[in-house]
């Protein structure tokens, strides 16, 4: 057997040396549960707790919990923070009409490339930004360098647990004794006692993401485990998000990628035309000259697995797979791919030197446990 390559995997980061790895407040829980711990974006994180496939099915069929404490939680305060975010985020934070509302968007560089994708929460005073672990330093540096509005920028040392699946809200309610999560509309959050409970996630299932102090996180994790909620590693997190048609930063887009070719055009708030967000001139120039590619879905029902970097051949030109997996829910391989804009229907993918028939479809692939594409 050849050694499994780590270069095509979203879940490992071989560039990081073990000695520098950070651990979350839940590290001891993972170790005690028999997790296979791997370096990821500078953190020692659970890849799986025995079987990635079983964990995937646990989320689609019941409830699972993820330690996502490695993500960056950044609070913004001060009079200028609304203007600051209107300038730095390509979606428009004025859509957050009341505290508790949340918004998905991208932060762009001057060339219109994606520095990061993030969720912005409006708080009673100020805003909270949750961004990726792998871009932590880049995002914090960028925010500091762009800060002309005198915003107070503070990274928070909080843990974060996602509880996802059709039974997630009921399980969360059973251990917290609170109806608050079920009362929240999707993409809304509530804060109390140092916790932020948000009706958000990265799986295509219902659920919450909870930001809270480390000691509270350990108790919540243990209580959820006691209620039968399965711990889920980064491996299943990747297959769940891809089935849900959600992008992964660093894989489906990066600083060299325009959101317009990464399936993220819907997150750009073009109106009002006078809002001068960073990257806007570059996006408008690209839109005027014509966007040649788009991010779409691929399915391959024959045996084999689509993976990052494989070439896609269509009648109107070639493309590339940005993320590919074996879909545990569907039982065959699916992928996100950047292809010529006009490409539709049948295509071929090169896997180890051979061309295999595949099909272009519109993501998502799975929502709330069921196949959704045509």
């Amino acid at each position: 057997m050849t050694e499994p390559a780590t270069t095509d995997s979203a879940t490992t980061d071989s560039a990081t040396t073990d000695s520098a790895l950070r651990r979350t407040a839940l590290y001891a829980q993972h170790a005690a549960a028999g997790a296979r711990l791997v370096p990821f974006a500078g953190w020692e994180m659970p890849l799986h707790y025995g079987s990635q496939l079983n964990e995937h099915h646990a989320v689609r069929g019941g409830a699972g919990m993820f330690d996502v404490s490695h993500m960056a939680i950044i609070d913004l305060a001060g009079d200028g923070c609304r203007a600051f975010l209107k300038r730095l985020v390509a979606n428009d934070v004025d859509r957050l009409t009341a505290p508790g509302k949340a918004l998905y968007g991208v932060m762009l560089n001057e060339a219109g490339g994606v520095i990061d994708d993030l969720i912005v929460y409006r708080r009673a005073t100020g805003y909270r930004v949750v961004s990726n672990a792998g871009t932590r330093a880049r995002v914090l540096d960028w925010l500091a360098a762009q800060n002309r509005e005198g915003v107070a920028i503070a990274e928070r040392d909080l843990a974060m647990i996602a509880v996802q699946g059709p039974e997630a809200l009921a399980k969360f309610e059973s251990v917290t004794g609170s109806r608050e999560a079920a009362a929240l509309a999707p993409f809304n959050a509530a804060e109390h006692d140092g916790w932020m409970v948000a009706r958000t996630g990265y799986t295509g299932e219902d659920g919450v993401e909870v930001m809270l102090p480390g000691p509270d996180a350990v108790r919540l994790w243990q209580d959820l485990a006691g209620a039968g909620v399965a711990p889920i590693g980064l491996g299943a997190r990747d297959t769940l998000r891809l089935e849900a048609g959600l992008n992964l930063y660093g894989q489906d887009m990066d600083e060299t990628t325009s959101p317009l070719v990464a399936g993220l055009g819907w997150t750009i708030a073009w109106a009002p035309a006078g809002r001068e967000f960073v990257g806007r001139p570059a996006l408008e120039a690209l839109r005027a000259s014509g966007v040649g590619e788009r991010l779409t879905g691929l399915v391959m029902e024959a045996r084999g697995v689509l993976r990052h970097g494989q070439t896609v051949r269509t009648p109107v030109g070639t493309g590339v797979i940005t993320s590919g997996i074996f879909s545990p829910t569907l039982g065959y391989s699916i992928a996100l791919a950047r292809v010529p804009k006009a490409a539709r229907g049948a295509c071929e993918v090169e896997i180890r030197g051979k061309w295999h028939p595949a099909r272009i479809v519109k993501p998502p692939f799975v929502r709330k446990g069921s196949k959704v594409f045509e």
């Binding site: 057997m1 050849t2 050694e3 499994p4 390559a5 780590t6 095509d8 995997s9 879940t11 296979r36 890849l47 799986h48 079987s51 990635q52 496939l53 491996g235 297959t239 045996r303 084999g304 697995v305 993976r307 997996i325 074996f326 896997i351 180890r352």
Partner: protein, 131 residues
């Protein structure tokens, strides 16, 4: 430490080979290999009747993590493949030295088995790989 049964022979590419009473050789991947791969989702077998040289590519194992080539630990003719892996690839994870076997070879020269590592040597090899 992964399970390494005594009595089998091991390749540096993490296949095991077992000499059967009828003189044929059964081949699979080691417990260490399946742990490194994670859940196996597809196995591509060599064709029954095909002749393989020692260290020739003899198939592919696709896991949730990566695709890996399987190599023939000895030369010979493929006489059987484990067809239950078609519907139940998880057998490779659950029972790598038993129900998760890959294929069986009629060896050209059974002495080639002695060129592979025994269990102790493979254990030392894994240890050196990890440092």
């Amino acid at each position: 430490m992964s399970e390494i049964p005594a009595g089998l022979r091991y390749a540096r590419s993490h296949e095991w080979a077992r000499r059967e009473e009828d003189g044929t050789v059964t081949v699979g991947i080691t417990a260490y290999a399946q742990e490194a791969l994670g859940d196996v989702v597809f196995v591509e077998h060599p064709e029954v009747g095909s002749a393989l040289g020692r260290s020739d590519e003899a198939g592919v194992v696709e896991s949730v993590k990566a695709a890996s080539d399987i190599y023939a630990p000895v030369s010979g003719t493929v006489i059987a493949t484990n067809e239950s892996l078609e519907d139940s690839p998880e057998l490779v994870n659950q029972d790598p030295y038993g129900d998760g076997w890959f294929f069986r070879i009629d060896p050209d020269d059974i002495a080639e088995l002695d060129m592979l590592m025994d269990a102790d040597a493979y254990a030392r090899f894994l240890e050196s790989e990890q440092h």
